[in-house]
């Protein structure tokens, strides 16, 4: 029973990390709940040991003794003697979320830990909703930080905000192309750009692939940001800089991740659902999507590797790097 429970607990799943909780605490809580569920399974039947016991010989009149092999139950494998069957589980965490942020947090258990590196190497984008408040600036870009200045914001309009966001997106677009190391003059790179799949496949600073304003009601505004290689504090700094561009000041009140790669809000499990059964269900439902996406990204990455890069002339590429299917390390 326990082994089948563990067998269905291999893969990736997403939880919704509430604000105020450290990501490590979330991972440990999930581990505790899974262990509780696994240990609650019915214990197996008690083991038997073979003992050679003295006993009278069958069917003899005299009292002769002989050794007979008998199966005697033993208590060494009893749960109260050996302890619980499962004491720890390997659970890996995908992209971190800091304590003040909330949202989709990808976790991997068992064999899924191997897939976690593949997911990281796929360099997928993430979606955030960022809530900002105009009129003040603090040192930590959050509402509870030390106040630095207070400003008016009556002059701010929706058009100004949209203009600034478009400018930001444009400048990041250039950076996207630059960090992806593609020579845009080639046909393949052009096709990829048309499809919109150009993105850096190795380390790069935070890049915003898309941003728009969902809601604007001064002093509050709500942005949707698609980005990669980001940290939540950089997103808060982005809000602060938007405030500066608008010639006012802004702090960030909420950073919430709505999508991490191919895990969306609907797939994320709430705190009440952090138990063995729900997590197994989440893993099962996510497994085919995960496999398909990783397959697609692998092909994309291989294609990326074969394209001529911007800084290198033709023909000087290392031929061994283009053909390897198993090597997942980037360029």
């Amino acid at each position: 029973m326990g082994s089948s429970g563990l067998a269905r607990l291999q893969g990736l799943f997403a939880v919704y990390k509430p604000p105020g909780m450290k990501w490590l605490h979330a991972r440990e809580t999930v581990e505790l709940q899974l262990l509780k569920g696994l240990n609650a399974a019915k214990p197996p039947a008690p083991e038997q040991r073979v003992r050679f016991l003295l006993g009278p010989v069958e069917g003899s009149e005299e009292k002769k003794l002989t050794l007979t092999a008998t199966s005697v139950p033993t208590l060494t494998t009893h749960r109260l003697v050996r302890g619980p069957a499962f004491t720890s589980l390997k659970i890996g965490v995908g992209h971190h979320l800091d304590a003040r942020a909330s949202g989709v947090l990808v976790l991997a258990v068992g064999h899924g830990l191997r897939l976690l590196t593949d997911v990281y190497d796929a360099h997928l984008t993430k979606d955030y909703t960022v809530r900002g408040l105009l009129g003040k600036a603090t040192d930590s870009f959050c509402e509870d930080g030390r106040l630095i200045e207070k400003t008016t914001y009556d002059h701010v309009t929706r058009e100004m905000l949209d203009r600034i966001l478009a400018r930001i997106q444009g400048s990041h677009q250039k950076a996207l192309v630059m960090y992806s190391n593609l020579d845009l003059k080639s046909q393949e790179a052009y096709e990829m750009a048309v499809q919109g799949v150009i993105r850096p496949m190795n380390k790069s600073p935070m890049l915003i692939t898309g941003t728009r304003c969902l809601h604007f009601a001064p002093p509050e505004f709500l942005l949707e940001v698609q980005c990669m290689h980001e940290t939540q504090q950089q997103l808060r700094k982005l809000v602060h800089e938007i405030g500066l561009e608008l010639k006012t000041a802004a702090v960030c009140t909420q950073v919430r991740r709505t999508r991490d790669g191919f895990f969306r809000l609907d797939d994320a499990l709430l705190r009440t659902q952090w138990n063995l059964h729900s997590i197994q269900g989440a893993i099962q439902s996510a497994a085919p999507r995960v496999a398909a996406e990783l397959e697609r990204n692998l092909r994309l990455r291989l294609g990326h590797q074969q394209l001529p890069s911007a800084g290198q002339p033709w023909g000087s590429k290392d031929p061994s790097s283009t053909v390897e299917v198993e090597s997942y390390s980037g360029q």
């Binding site: 909780m21 003295l54 006993g55 003794l65 208590l75 060494t76 909330s102 705190r271 009440t272």
Partner: protein, 415 residues
């Protein structure tokens, strides 16, 4: 007798008699080691005194010439075979070689009476079949599972429900349990506990927590129970206290007295109310008093409750005295400053200090989003705090928020 002696394997001669010295020095209680050897090679069941067995829990070298211990089960239905009785080598400082000179010095006359054995001596089939050659028990181990098949005490304890995997982490406790004998020591204490009012299925968890009750004197335990009864605790009360705080009976009478006095003075409660408080949360008596003093200061100075308010809250929810200071202040901060609930209403519902902060935050923000966050009894649409914290999610959504659980979950994902 000769037959019996013939059954003694030949390496009986190489007794490490220095181990006897050690054994007799260490077990001052009984001088049994020598005696059992002399008296007891009868085929009848001989309960081996567990005092002979010393398990040192450091890793030691295993000496093949040493004698080993085999525990005999009293009610085994196999015919009793002669098993060797021996003492395990207790200390690390012993030399590995046999020192023949020591053997001759020791005053065990029984050894001189034995005729010299020869391995060529023919023995009958029956005797041969009765030579037991079990694999030797490990001399030292970190787990009690190695010894459980040979120790009736441990088997009976497991049947009672004692969690040996937790006890074996404490080295002294495991040694104690192996040395004890079920019939003589453990049974008396178990009967005493049953007289107190503990049920059979409660004995296991109790002993898992307080295994050292076996080293207490039965008279002391009875004195403590008598003291509690003299303070007008009923029998059912005492049973409940002992069940919830297993270490209670390990406290001496004067220590119990001091603690009861502390709570009475600190909280300025009447005798009856202190009694009720202690019966509801007996771990107040067994736990540390520093957190209680800290929490009293927090309530008075930091949170600003008056003494009679604290008394009222503590008699309703005794757990408040031992709550975590940081969580207390966090809860109070949210309830008083964000939910804007004044002191006199918090006093009426002290359960809010017993719930997790995230639950309060989630539910309040949901009600605030719906516009139903009304905690003032004077106004309409009043939400009482005890319902707010105690009822489960489905009931909360249906009755207080008047929505479905799905809506609540969708809202939680927007936080």
């Amino acid at each position: 007798m000769a037959l019996l002696l013939g059954q003694i394997p030949r390496w009986f001669n190489s007794i490490k008699l220095s181990s006897f010295i050690k054994a007799s020095q260490i077990t001052k209680q009984s001088a049994r080691p020598g005696k059992t050897l002399s008296n007891g090679f009868s085929p009848q069941a001989l309960l081996l005194s567990s005092d002979n067995c010393f398990l040192q829990w450091e890793i030691k070298t295993y000496r093949t010439s040493s004698l080993w211990n085999s525990f005999q089960s009293a009610n085994s239905n196999r015919q009793e075979n002669s098993s060797l009785q021996s003492t395990l080598l207790p200390s690390v400082s012993e030399k590995p070689e046999i020192i023949p000179s020591l053997e001759s010095e020791l005053p065990l006359e029984e050894l001189d009476d034995l005729p010299p054995l020869s391995p060529m001596q023919p023995i009958s089939e029956e005797e041969a079949i009765q030579i037991v050659a079990h694999p030797l028990l490990p001399l030292s181990s970190f787990t009690l599972g190695d010894y459980i098949d040979h120790s009736e005490t441990l088997q009976r304890l497991v049947q009672l429900g004692v969690d040996l995997s937790k006890i074996e982490r404490h080295v002294d406790a495991a040694n104690l349990l192996l040395r004890l004998d079920f019939e003589k020591d453990i049974k008396q204490i178990l009967l005493f506990l049953k007289d107190l009012g503990l049920e059979d299925n409660q004995l296991g968890p109790f002993l898992t927590k307080n295994y050292s009750i076996f080293s207490e004197d039965l008279e002391n335990l009875k004195t403590r129970v008598a003291y509690l009864q003299s303070k007008n605790f009923t029998k059912a009360d005492i049973a409940r206290m002992v069940r919830n705080a297993p270490f209670l009976l390990s406290f001496s009478v004067e220590r119990l007295d001091n603690r009861l006095g502390f709570f009475q003075k600190e909280l300025e409660l009447s005798v009856k109310k202190t009694r009720d408080l202690v019966v509801r949360l007996p771990r107040l008596l067994t736990g540390s008093l520093e957190p209680v003093k800290e929490n009293m200061k927090v309530y008075r100075l930091e949170l600003g409750f008056k003494q009679n308010e604290i008394q009222h809250m503590v008699t309703r929810i005794p757990k408040m005295l031992t709550a975590n200071k940081r969580k207390l202040t966090e809860t109070f901060d949210y309830i008083h400053n964000v939910m804007n609930i004044p002191h006199h209403i918090i006093v009426k519902f002290p359960q809010v200090f017993n719930t997790r902060v995230f639950k309060i935050k989630e539910r309040h923000s949901f009600l605030a989003y719906l516009g139903k966050a009304q905690y003032d009894p004077a106004k309409t649409n009043y939400v009482s705090l005890d319902k707010f914290v105690s009822i489960p999610d489905e009931v909360f959504c249906k009755e207080i928020a008047k929505t479905s659980v799905d809506d609540f979950e969708k809202f939680l994902k927007t936080l």
